[in-house]
């Protein structure tokens, strides 16, 4: 480990460097803005993020490498997720520009926090070392705490933040304790070495299982899987809507990234997730644990979502269910399964952000978050209605939307194993049907019922419409024209292995 190597690695670290630079720049720039114009910092942050995204896209990941003594990996997998979280962040910033909640505040630091959160996720998706995992996880968590409590004077936001903090700190504490045991059991901190040690045997299965559960508490909280989801509804409701949207998408994707990387390396038979014939660690059936988690998440998420009358809460709960679907891919944990998760993450980002964005706009324009009060929206604002319908169908997983293809890929990867996961697929699909029920309530409210045609048709501002179309169109058409996302996701299942 010499300095030359570090300097050489910096080349592969370029996106993060740029992002860090942007953060600093925005902080500085924001110093010179008064509250009224602090939104400009937001524009700057968004611009910087676009730049970073370009850097990520330009990075050559054909040869996966570890940088900084294999603390971080630069590979196709992390690259894909960086793209996802960056796009998510950009879209959320765009949404935030239109959010009434943030109007009249000083918002420079808000955007800075989002940037840092993004940076944290950059690290998280590429972490390959217990230390880097923990640090990046904390980075993401801390920023999330702050963002969810951003509406300082609002009781709800406040409460959300405190709960989030307590829950987050608690979970990461347990995670850390698990890490420490893992370190003790294997004597190393790099996930590759840990794997090697575990594969060599000599570790008591029960102890290993305990470690596994502890690790899961930490990761599970990040992706809001049942039973580690309890913070979700409260935080999602209390946080500013754009942040809720962001939390339900980007950190979740990053959380999945670390779960996949961690589990597929540490708890695998040969430590190489790039191989076709991938196998789990012999004495630890962690896939069963994940299956259980997946089933619980899907079912509980759906069941509670049914009860919601507030669209934000409904979307929040349903995000738990979606985490469950994605976990199904983790269960399979082979190349197709991971590709399916990546694909799902991408599609889910589009549709969930889209749905939240419509919700924000409806809140702005009609001042309501109640699903019942979406009444006649389809006629009052036809474009908004149609687009929302597309999002709802996609979230349900109905053809011809991307949501269907995403689910299709997930279930496809399950059924590939024939008997093994067939029941899991059935449960998952039935859950899909249940979800129809609450998503359709939105559609129903928008179109059905006694029709009183509005006098005036509401026209959303151009930038809102443009953003919505950008989100909706790929959902509708993307998969039909060669499905570029699918190709990208498949090529991205390429891990750095030491």
């Amino acid at each position: 480990m010499d300095l030359n190597q570090i300097v050489a690695d910096l080349g592969l670290f370029l996106p993060e460097i740029i992002l860090t630079g942007v953060v600093l720049l925005v902080v500085l720039y924001d110093l010179f803005q008064d509250a009224e114009h602090s939104i400009r910092s937001g524009y700057l942050a968004m611009g910087g993020l676009v730049l970073t995204l370009l850097a990520v896209l330009m990075q050559d990941t054909s040869a996966p490498t570890g940088i900084f003594s294999n603390m971080l990996a630069v590979d196709g997998f992390s690259n894909f997720l960086k793209v996802i979280v960056s796009i998510g962040a950009i879209l959320v910033m765009w949404m935030s520009f239109n959010s009434n909640e943030l109007k009249g505040r000083r918002v420079g630091e808000y955007y800075v926090l989002i940037l840092v959160l993004t940076l944290g996720m950059y690290f998280l998706v590429s972490a390959t070392h217990l230390l880097s995992i923990y640090i990046s996880l904390e980075m993401v968590s801390l920023m999330s705490f702050l963002l969810s409590g951003y509406l300082k004077e609002q009781m709800r936001s406040n409460e959300a933040a405190i709960k989030y903090v307590v829950f987050g700190a608690f979970s990461s504490g347990i995670l850390l304790y698990g890490f420490s045991l893992l370190y003790g059991l294997t004597g190393s901190t790099s996930i590759f070495e840990i794997q090697a040690a575990l594969a060599a045997g000599n570790v008591q299965p029960a102890l290993l299982l305990m470690v596994l559960v502890m690790v899961l508490v930490g990761f599970g909280y990040k992706i809001a899987a049942v039973p580690f989801h309890f913070w979700t509804p409260d935080v999602y409701e209390g946080a500013p809507v754009p942040i809720t949207a962001f939390l339900s998408v980007a950190p979740k994707a990053a959380g999945f990234a670390i779960i996949i990387r961690f589990f597929n390396v540490v708890f695998s038979g040969d430590g190489n997730p790039n191989m076709e014939a991938w196998s789990a660690l012999e004495n630890l059936n962690w896939q069963a644990v994940i299956s259980l988690l997946a089933i619980l998440s899907m079912t509980v998420g759906n069941v509670i979502a049914i009860q919601q009358s507030n669209i934000k809460r409904m979307l929040a709960y349903s995000s738990i269910a979606h985490a469950g679907y994605m976990l199904l891919g983790v269960v399979v944990a082979d190349q197709t399964g991971i590709a399916a998760i990546l694909y799902y993450a991408g599609v889910y980002m589009l549709m969930n952000l889209g749905a939240f964005f419509v919700a924000i706009h409806v809140k702005n324009a009609f001042d309501t978050e109640e699903i019942e009060e979406y009444k006649m929206l389809g006629y009052k604002a036809p474009v908004l209605g149609v687009i929302m319908t597309i999002f709802m169908f996609s979230l349900t997983g109905l053809p011809p939307t991307g949501g269907f293809i995403a689910k299709f890929y997930i279930f496809r990867s399950l059924i590939e194993y024939g008997d093994m996961y067939f029941w899991l697929a059935i449960i998952g699909l039935i859950n899909g049907v249940i979800s129809l029920y609450y998503y359709m309530r939105v559609v129903k409210a928008m179109y059905f019922g006694k029709m009183e045609l509005p006098e005036r048709i509401h026209q959303a501002p151009l930038n809102v419409t443009v953003l919505l179309v950008i989100l909706a169109l790929p959902l509708l058409l993307g998969w039909m024209i060669g499905d570029p996302l699918s190709g990208y996701a498949q090529s991205a299942v390429h891990f750095f292995v030491n």
Binding site: K163, F170, Y221, F230, W231, N302, I304, Q307
Partner: protein, 700 residues
């Protein structure tokens, strides 16, 4: 000849189309005469065929033409025309009666609200009836079978404003369908075993052993002979429906709700005889058991219907039951193997019963006009208790009535005597000679002559009762009587023609012996060879010989019983020596039974239809109110109830759509909501518990 037959078949259809599409426009411009013209054209054509047949004088004459209609490669159905002497005679009967009824109707139906449509329906009826007559296969006959059902439905329901008419039409159609499904099942058996519906091929293939070798594929290797019995009886079910045999006879009396000419054409002369015609067609492949069944049903129906006819007061109802009874005769004849006699009776019956109905129509027409003049809409013009003494006012009608009543009662010199006598001789022979079939096995064959002679006596009685009540005695309603007039020529001419055709000589030419049926008819119509080689009831020669021997005793007996019947009738209704009322009270239960048609309708309505409709209701309710509601939606509603108590999410569930999601999910959701307390520390505990459970589950 085939082309001629096809013309006869399709011309009435043209009449139908013209009347339906253009009839209304020409209603005031004698448009009906187009139909009458067409009908008479077919009559001329039929007569031409008849003449050819007589000159050919070949009992084995037959012609067949068929075309592929439906071809699935491995499965095909051909439609075609089969003509033999029976066909030709039947075509003549249909054409003749139909023509006369057309003519008659121009007066009888004058001024009707749906005048042109009436003629159109007569057209489609004639078409379908000709179709039955000309069919060469079971499948084709089935199709036309249903079509006559349709025309019958349309014509019975001609005055659908009356609920009774609409009811009767529906009843006729559905009762017939009950018989038809039997027929269809029989067809399916035959088609499955033999792969054909064609009458000739069926007979051939039974004869060459195809049946015996293939029959085992049904019902798990059933005895072929038994299967043939089943098939035969099932096909005969169609005849039971159409020819109003017990127990499916109930529709025919009700069908009298239709216009009287329709009753004459359809419900007396032709359509109801289609069942007999069908039996004639399937005659070659009926087994002894099947024939015994047919004979028994026919005989029972003959007697049964006759007993009801005694007490009816509606002139058309008497005739209707008499028709049922006479059809029973024909069926019984075929069942006993008296093929020629059965078909012969069909033809003679068509003439005299057609005449009887048209004559009764003439009476009703007169009554109706009289009532119309009196502006009386209460009195029933068909009730014989309102008539009496009409002899003087309506001499032609009366004359026709006398002739045809004589014919139906089996009085010598009239056609009915010949045919009925032949049937009775047949039953006699059967009872004496039969050695197979369940009737013989149970030693019950003697019951058939009992049915036959009993019915003959009763027939004579009630027919004369009808005459006496209607035409003799005092006019019971003098003011009505005052306005009675003889019907116009277009009505009486057909009557007279049919009366003439009810005399013996028409059928015995060139011979003129009034007590023997030898003549052109027995020359051209002869019993076909049976295809059932094993277990036939008796061999043909033996049977003909027996018929010959039974002829005289049967004739004598029938004359005696008819005479007794007439005598009783004279005593009661003409001379009033015996009081009908006293007789009725004395007979008590019997009288009431007869008057109420032995409660068959009540049995059907209360015993079958009502319970079945209740069952349907139950199914309908079960489906929507129980199955769908409880099993599929019910969870939601239960939750609604419980949640009212708990008091949350009410509006959501009232919302209605929840009812699919099910109580389990609701309950789960409720519980989970309960867990979501909002207290962070509870959450943490739950996390710990969750983690512990995960751990525990996977350790074990």
């Amino acid at each position: 000849m085939i082309n001629l037959a096809l013309l006869i078949l399709f011309l009435p259809l043209l009449s139908f189309a013209l009347q339906i599409f253009f009839g209304r426009r020409f209603e005031d411009k004698k448009g009906e005469w187009v139909s009458v013209g067409i009908q008479f054209t077919t009559l001329i054509m039929s007569l031409a065929m008849f003449v050819m047949m007589i000159s050919r004088n070949d009992p084995n004459f037959s012609l067949e033409m068929q075309k592929s209609w439906l071809d699935l490669g491995v499965f095909k159905i051909d439609l075609g025309v089969y003509i033999d002497n029976v066909t030709i005679i039947m075509l003549n009967v249909v054409a003749l009666i139909s023509s006369l009824v057309h003519l008659y109707s121009t007066a009888y139906m004058a001024g009707d609200v749906r005048y042109s449509r009436y003629f159109g329906f007569l057209g489609i009826f004639t078409f379908s009836m000709n179709g039955i007559v000309l069919s060469n296969s079971l499948f084709m006959i089935y199709m036309f079978w249903e079509l006559v059902g349709l025309s019958s439905y349309l014509l019975i329901g001609h005055w659908w404003e009356k609920k009774s008419a609409a009811d009767a039409a529906k009843k006729a159609f559905i009762t017939n369908r009950v018989g038809d499904i039997g027929m269809f099942m029989g067809m399916m058996i035959i088609a499955t075993v033999l792969g054909t519906f064609n009458f000739q091929l069926i007979a051939d293939r039974i004869l060459d052993g195809t049946w015996a070798s293939n029959a085992g594929m049904l019902f798990g290797g059933i005895d072929p002979h038994k299967l043939l019995t089943i098939a035969g009886v099932l096909v005969f079910m169609g005849a039971v429906g159409k020819s109003a045999q017990f127990p499916l006879h109930v529709w025919l009396p009700d069908a009298m709700e239709g216009p009287t000419p329709v009753s004459a054409l359809i419900h007396a002369a032709t359509m109801v005889a289609a069942g007999v015609y069908l039996t004639v067609r399937i005659f070659p492949f009926l087994t002894a058991d099947a024939m015994a069944t047919i004979a028994f049903i026919g005989g029972f129906t003959a007697l049964y219907a006759a007993t009801i006819a005694i007490t009816q007061n509606d002139i058309k109802k008497v005739l209707a039951y008499s028709t049922v009874s006479q059809l029973g005769y024909m069926v019984m004849a075929l069942g006993t193997g008296a093929y020629v006699a059965g078909f012969f009776h069909l033809v003679t019956h068509a003439m005299f019963k057609g005449a009887l109905f048209l004559a009764s129509g003439s009476v009703i027409h007169a009554m109706h006009h009289s009532l119309h003049k009196l502006d009386d809409h209460q009195t029933d013009p068909q009730d014989m208790r309102n008539m009496g003494g009409l002899k003087a006012k309506m001499p032609i009608t009366f004359g026709v009535f006398m002739v045809t009543t004589a014919a139906i009662s089996g009085i010598p010199l009239f056609s009915g005597f010949l045919s009925k006598d032949a049937i009775l001789a047949g039953t006699w022979t059967y009872a004496a000679n039969v050695h197979d079939g369940w009737l013989a096995n149970l030693h019950m064959a003697w019951i058939l002559p009992v049915f036959g002679f009993g019915a003959a006596a009763i027939t004579a009685f009630y027919m004369f009762r009808l005459i006496f009540m209607t035409f003799y005695g005092e006019a019971k309603k003098p003011d009505i009587f005052k306005h009675i007039h003889e019907s116009p020529k277009v009505m009486t001419v057909p009557l007279v023609i049919l009366a003439i055709l009810s005399t013996f000589i028409v059928f015995t030419l060139p011979s003129v012996n009034p007590i023997s049926d030898h003549g052109w008819f027995t020359e051209v119509v002869q019993s076909p060879e049976t295809a059932v080689t094993t277990g036939a009831a008796f061999d043909l020669e033996h049977f003909e010989h027996g018929m010959h021997e039974a002829h005289v005793p049967a004739m004598v007996t029938s004359l005696i019983v008819a005479g007794l019947g007439i005598l009783l009738s004279v005593l009661v209704y003409l001379l009033n020596k015996i009081s009908a009322e006293n007789l009725a009270t004395k007979l008590g239960a019997l009288y009431r039974g007869s008057l109420n048609k032995w409660y068959m309708d009540e049995f059907y309505i209360n015993g079958i239809i009502r319970p079945f409709l209740k069952g349907c209701d139950a199914v309908g309710r079960f489906d929507l109110e129980f199955y769908d509601h409880y099993l599929i939606n019910g969870w939601g509603r239960n939750t609604k109830r419980t949640s009212r108590g708990v008091g949350f999410a009410d509006d959501l569930i009232v919302d209605g759509a929840v009812n699919f999601s099910g109580i389990i999910f609701q309950w789960l959701g409720w519980t989970l909501k309960f867990i979501q307390t909002g207290k962070i520390q509870n959450y943490l505990i739950f996390v710990l518990i969750g983690a512990a459970v995960l751990f525990a589950v996977n350790v074990y």
